[in-house]
Amino acid sequence: MDHWRISQLRAFTARMLGLFRSRQCDREFDEEMQTHLQLLVDRFVAQGMSQEDAAAAARRQFGNTTLLQEDRRELWTLVSVEDLGRDLRYALRSLARSRAFAAVAIATLGLGIGASTAIFSVVDNVLLEPFPYKDPGRMVFLQIHDTARGQEGGRQGYTSNELLEFAEQNHVFDGIIAASDDLVLYKQGEGVELLYGAHVTPRTFEFFGMPALYGRVLQAPDY
């Protein structure tokens, strides 16, 4: 029984592959049949038949080539259109008969698909494509850590001198940028809005590969 299953599976796989190369197969199959017919004709002629009688006899003995091509296509396709229609109708009828089951099945599928989509979008945002920056995988955030102390972690803030010295000695990174937060009050008409601003070192936008959403980014003359 198991053996049978496996061979069914193989047939299924062959059919899947058949979806992608049906035209070439059609041609090869045609060629094969034509060769066979020709060989039959040769044989009948050798037995003393006229060319015409031989051709007719060969066709008789071989059978209907169009039917064969159809059989062949059916073997190589997953399901015929009629089969598909029949299966669909059957499925709908059975679902209509047992509404409770249908409702549970639909709800389960809906929840499952919804949950997978939600989880994937979270994973995609957090793990796969966390930031829309250029080469986010090559960006690092450095901490200063005193190796003499056993404690974990370190300082994330740098003084200007530390930063300049670090940038000067760097031969590891393609670029180094720094920023300091600064709250900004933005007056607009009668209201005032509190915005999170930042001072950035030159080439910060180029470093992130981000365009300005509005206006333009800082350029050399601005520095």
């Binding site: 053996h3 047939a11 060629e31 066979h36 039959l40 003995q61 059978g63 064969l68 073997l75």
Partner: protein
């Protein structure tokens, strides 16, 4: 059945005959397979030779035979079919099945005489 009327090939038995032919003769093209079956059946069987190809395809899909393009005796391009190891195993199983079933059918058909 004493007149010269030929019998139709039973559905499914052609697969078995082809498998056996490839097992006995080694790689063959479709034409050769048809000739062999014709020869062995001594014109008892009515065989539309085209159905040999449908059968070959079925066997191919199951992985019981393999196909390869080659050149036939008279220098024609032809597809050669050969039995695979899996096919050999299948042939053994199917042969045993066939013998068992035909034995049973034979016994059933002879029952009348014992009434």
């Amino acid at each position: 059945m004493s007149n010269a009327k030929k019998s139709e090939v039973l559905q499914g038995t052609l697969d078995l005959m082809i498998l056996k032919t490839l097992h006995a003769l080694g790689p063959q093209h479709g034409f050769g397979t048809a000739r062999r079956i014709e020869q062995v059946s001594r014109d008892v069987l009515q065989l539309n030779e085209g159905t040999v190809y449908t059968s070959l395809l079925r066997l191919l899909q199951r992985g019981w035979i393999a196909a390869e393009w080659g050149t036939s005796d008279n220098n024609r391009k032809a597809k050669f079919y050969s039995i695979t190891a899996r096919g050999e195993k299948r042939l053994a199983v199917e042969t045993e099945n066939w013998e068992r079933i035909s034995g049973v059918v034979g016994r059933v058909l002879r029952l009348e005489g014992e009434r």
